[in-house]
């Protein structure tokens, strides 16, 4: 008994010593570690000063030797320190092992302590537990939401914007009013080939906005009054008020504001897009609605509203449709426009009177028709302004879609007589700039992209691909590369513009101050569908049914597929997939990859010539008669 007690006392002593030793070692280790982490053996103050001296006296061999000695000492000290930390660690482990063994021996030789306390009131404890779990749950949710609030969940948007900028899709700048506008005015005044209207012309144009209704007349009177009251400064003051009205980057990316998505480059940034449906059975069709007047323009989207237009030789209409229900919310009639021809121009059946797609900035929606009528409605369907741009004199029918950049509505007006590109003030419709073009008639649409240092609007028509400044209309560059009747718009990605036209060639143009053709190909060419490109790949479809993928950098054909129906609709890239609808309305979905990988073929049940629009979880397709909402 006594011996056992002595043994326990001995082990207690051992445990105490081991414990104290472990504690001391721990403290030393922490101090040593702190030193070891702060020392940089090759960058000490002493060595640095000696090296500086040596720089002044490079021939001083004694000093050189001294540096080497000090350097060696410093390195030795460092590695000694490292060794000490490691050895200390082993010692600590050993002392802890001794401590544990001692503790276990003491414990196994000590009679068990029986603690009989007061019995817990289980009911009360459960109540307490419920209370504290509820509180902690609320705190947890609160902290998570607070942290989420701090980051505003903007990361994804920031990446998308950055990705767009890098990929070349234009990401309009947020509403920074004065700086941008100063640039506009300054730049505009410098251009020789830009026709800036004087105040009198502006006043006249505003007069043209006159509509028949009394309210509209009143609005114009007010506007006219403002115009009359302003002097030369007006040009600066007026847009300043309006600049704040154009949408932010997030708003544009979050919508499908124009033909072929934001910037018109064929890429959508929406998510969870359906990959399977069958409109013949109604599978995954949320709704479908008949569009009263026919048109080949593609749907555009702003938040919960979809816009399309329709026309025949007697009527022209703009439709706003509720994205959720498919109900036509309002119909904007396009009539009583000053200068509008009494009879509509003759157009071919496969182009029609309403081929150009609309564009919107979420404040207004803008539409143009085959007779040159251009009109803006507000989101509630009230007419804001309208004018006629003159007879397009286009033998198939005008089809260039509209595009917006900041406060400028860009109109590619490649008509037979005096082709031009125009920048209209989005709020009044008056001409901000107008640049004549030396091109033939075309049916392509503008594409607005950021090519790194600047935003460019890229147009395509025989004989060239041309880049303009969207705010001033100044020609940035021009590359002659095509001939014939140009239908497809260009695609842009990673500094390369891809332009293709039937009977001519497919070219990849390297942009910049001195643009040049990087490669060209004549294997396959498109006459209607526009291409779409990523940094590495370029996808193209043809009206005779071949669709294929090129290596964007070399022009090599990576794969090709064929479809009997042919394509007029342009391919759209979304979520790493290509959506391409053939003329019979079958959507071919495949991976945007170097190797062809089909995801699905989804029928619409009616002919399809337009390009789909995308929203989160939904795809909107305009068939020959109906507008379809596909999704769940």
């Amino acid at each position: 008994m006594s011996s056992n007690k002595t043994n326990i006392n001995l082990w207690k002593r051992i445990a105490q010593i081991a414990g104290i030793f472990a504690f001391v070692i721990s403290v030393i280790l922490i101090i040593n570690y702190a030193q070891y982490k702060t020392i940089d053996p090759v960058n000490t103050e002493l060595i640095n000063s000696l090296v500086e001296n040596l720089n002044h006296n490079p021939a001083d061999s004694l000093l050189r030797q001294q540096i080497r000695t000090v350097d060696l000492l410093s390195r030795k000290a460092y590695f000694t320190n490292q060794w000490q930390v490691r050895t200390g660690g082993y010692l600590l482990l050993l002392s802890l092992a001794v401590l544990v063994i001692a503790m276990q021996i003491i414990k196994s030789n000590t009679p068990k302590e029986v603690v009989v306390g007061e019995t817990e009131n289980s009911f009360l404890e459960q109540k307490n537990a419920r209370k504290w779990i509820s509180i902690s749950g609320i705190v947890l949710v609160g902290i998570a939401l607070f942290l989420a609030l701090l980051t505003h969940n903007d990361l994804s948007n920031e990446f998308t914007i950055a990705s767009m900028k890098d990929g070349g899709v234009d990401a309009p700048v947020e509403n920074k009013v004065s700086d941008n506008e100063t640039v506009i005015i300054k730049d505009s005044s410098e251009k020789e080939d830009i026709v800036l209207n004087d105040d009198t012309e502006k006043a006249e144009e505003v007069e043209e906005v006159v509509s028949n209704t009394k309210e509209q007349a009143q609005e114009v009177k007010t506007e006219k009054k403002i115009v009359a009251e302003t002097n030369e400064k007006k040009a600066v003051v007026e847009p300043e008020k309006k600049l704040s009205e154009y949408p932010s980057e997030e708003e544009i990316i979050g919508n499908h504001p124009s033909f072929r998505g934001p910037g018109g480059n064929g890429i959508s940034y929406r998510k969870n897009i359906p990959i399977s449906w069958d409109a013949t059975t109604g599978d995954n069709v949320v709704w479908k609605v008949e569009i009263p007047l026919h048109g080949y323009n593609s749907p555009i989207i702003w938040e919960d509203k979809i816009f399309v237009s329709g026309a025949n030789s007697a009527q022209r209409e703009v439709y706003c449709i509720d994205r959720n229900s498919g109900k036509i919310l309002w119909t904007g009639e396009v009539k009583d426009i000053e200068g509008s021809p009494a009879t509509s121009p003759e157009v071919t059946e496969d182009t029609g009177q309403a081929a150009p797609s609309l564009t919107t900035d979420g404040r207004r929606v803008y539409a143009i028709f085959a007779n040159g009528d251009i009109i803006a409605f507000d989101m509630e369907g009230n007419r804001v302004w309208a004018r006629n741009l003159g007879d397009p004199n286009n033998h198939y029918g005008h089809s260039s879609s509209l595009m917006l950049y900041q406060n400028v509505l860009i109109v590619q007006y490649d008509i037979k007589k005096s082709p031009k590109v125009m920048g209209l003030d989005f709020s009044t419709g008056k001409t901000l700039w107008e640049t004549p073009r030396k091109v033939k008639v075309s049916w392509a649409s503008p594409v607005v992209v950021n090519t790194g240092n600047r935003t460019e609007v890229i147009l395509f028509a025989e004989p060239s691909v041309d880049s303009y400044d969207p705010l001033t209309g100044k020609l940035n560059w021009s590359v002659k590369c095509t001939y014939g009747e140009v239908g497809p718009s260009v695609a842009y990605a990673d500094g390369l513009v891809f332009a293709v036209n039937e009977y001519a060639k497919l070219v990849a143009i390297k942009t910049g101050e001195n643009p040049e053709i990087l490669w060209e190909s004549t294997d396959y060419m498109s006459d209607v569908p526009s291409p779409v490109a990523t940094e590495e790949l370029m996808f193209m479809a043809t009206s005779y049914g071949v669709y294929l993928c090129y290596d964007a950098k070399t022009g090599d054909i990576l794969w090709e597929q064929e479809n009997d129906n042919g394509f007029y609709s342009s391919p759209m890239m979304v979520e790493g997939k290509i959506y391409l609808m053939d003329m019979q309305g079958i959507m071919h979905i495949f991976k945007a990859s170097r190797e062809y990988e089909s995801i699905g073929d989804c029928p619409l049940g009616e002919d399809g010539m337009t390009t789909p629009a995308f929203a989160d979880g939904k795809i909107y397709i305009r068939g020959n008669k109906h507008l379809f909402c596909i999704g769940k």
């Binding site: 779990i133 939401l145 969940n153 920031e158």
Partner: protein, 435 residues
């Protein structure tokens, strides 16, 4: 007498380690690149490239695991020997801990399984599946015998238990929710190929490998020091694998009991469990009206869907914060910051972070990175919602469970929380009488 026994144990342990070390293959030396030549005559040491563990040894690990689990089950259920369990713990510390350096480990295997389920490109080794499944099977059969003495993380804490303090049961229930959060996060990060956070923040791996970041040593030290007074804090309040073992053990076929026959209500075992896993008999003379209990239970059960919705919403809002842990998202953030502040690169003291430099040298475009980062964030959006919903469900079920009051007459182990360490058995006089 006692000294000679300890001496014998130590000799056995040393012999055992020597045998194990001799089984390991000798390192193969290999030189991939030509060595630089030194004029000073310095001889460059040979590069040591350890050979991968042989298949035989990997299956031997599984065999050892099964043997250890079987031995503990036998010791707990048949022999009722705490001492035996203790020695298996020592064995586990030496074998699974110091010899196998804490890897492969059942606790971390959750992540491998999650990654394999969500990433078809990842081929999970059979041994990892075995380490994941086998302890769960034993838990289903015999309770948490893995925790009792086979898990090296639990064992190292167990030997530090000295003066364990009893915690209030409400506090224990509250802290007991942490493993569910850790479990959810570990699955999320593994499934999104972000990180194996259980391994990265394993507080004891540094001790077993005798090598770790200082902070990890510190964290491990804190856990071990805490173990002296709060028994096995990591197992009870952090271990994500414990979540699964707890659930499986609740329905175990044969679980250890405190008393070998009939409880005599002596109260001797009442505070014997350092983990607070003994359920006391209900001493309330007046029972709560059944109507109240049922009503409360129904209310709490009804709010479970609401809690899930709140969880889903919170998870969806918090997803970007969760995604920021992913290295690719972090890199994209750094590059974006660099792009947004190009002037910082003009600073003479600016040094481009290594990650950015490495990424750029790989020749990939920023656009690709941003796109990939966005895809990851999108994954986290879904993952965040699932995690939130899961936690909402856990909170809801816990609250509902706490409204059910079980009236019992004997001291019984809580089958979910009991670690089958067999300490309480030593306190039971019934066993002493019977033996």
């Amino acid at each position: 007498m006692r000294y000679s026994r300890i001496k014998t144990y130590i000799i056995k342990i040393v012999f055992f380690i020597t045998i194990l070390m001799s089984l390991q293959a000798i390192d193969v030396q290999a030189q991939r690149f030509p060595k630089p030549e030194f004029d000073s005559g310095h001889i460059q040491p040979e590069t040591q490239v350890p050979v991968p563990r042989s298949d035989f040894m990997e299956f031997f690990d599984v065999f050892v695991l099964i043997v250890a689990l079987s031995v503990v089950s036998w010791l707990v259920l048949k022999k009722r020997s705490r001492r035996g369990v203790f020695w298996v713990s020592i064995f586990s510390i030496l074998y699974f801990g110091f010899y196998r350096e804490g890897c492969v480990c059942s606790v971390g295997s959750i992540q491998n399984v999650a990654l394999a389920l969500f990433n078809p490109g990842y081929k999970i080794p059979l041994t990892v599946i075995a380490f994941f499944v086998i302890p769960l099977v034993y838990s289903l059969l015999f309770g948490r015998v893995f925790c009792a003495g086979v898990c090296p993380l639990g064992a190292i804490q167990d030997i530090f238990i000295w003066k364990p303090q009893q915690m209030k049961s409400w506090l224990q229930k509250l802290l007991g929710l942490i493993p569910y959060i850790y479990f959810g996060l570990a699955i999320l990060y593994a499934a999104t190929s972000t990180d194996f956070i259980i391994c990265r923040y394993d507080p004891f791996i540094g001790f077993y490998r005798l090598d770790a970041d200082f902070l990890m040593f510190l964290l491990g030290g804190v856990f071990l020091l805490t173990s002296v007074f709060i028994a096995r804090p990591y197992c009870r309040f952090f271990c994500p694998y414990g979540v699964l073992l707890n659930l499986f053990s609740r329905v175990s076929r044969q679980h250890m009991t405190i008393t070998p026959s009939k409880c005599i209500q002596c109260k001797l075992c009442e505070n014997s469990c350092p983990f607070g896993a003994i359920e006391e008999p209900d001493m309330l003379k007046i029972r709560e009206p059944r109507k109240n209990t049922v009503r409360r239970f129904l209310i709490l059960a009804a709010i479970i869907p609401a809690l899930i919705i709140v969880g889903v919403y919170t998870g969806s809002q918090f997803h970007e914060n969760l995604a920021m842990v992913h290295p690719k998202v972090r890199l994209a953030q750094d590059i974006l910051e660099q792009k947004n502040n190009p002037e910082i690169q003009n600073d003479s003291e600016y040094v481009e972070p290594l990650e950015i430099e490495a990424y750029r040298s790989a020749g990939k475009s920023d656009q690709q990175l941003f796109t990939e980062a966005n895809e990851i964030i999108e994954d986290f959006y879904v993952g965040g919602m699932i995690l939130g919903g899961f936690l909402g469900l856990v909170f809801g079920l816990t609250l509902a469970g706490l409204s059910i009051f079980t009236y019992r007459t004997d001291y019984e182990p809580n089958k979910g929380e009991c670690l089958s360490c067999a300490r309480c058995m030593d306190y039971c006089p019934v066993e002493t009488t019977n033996s």
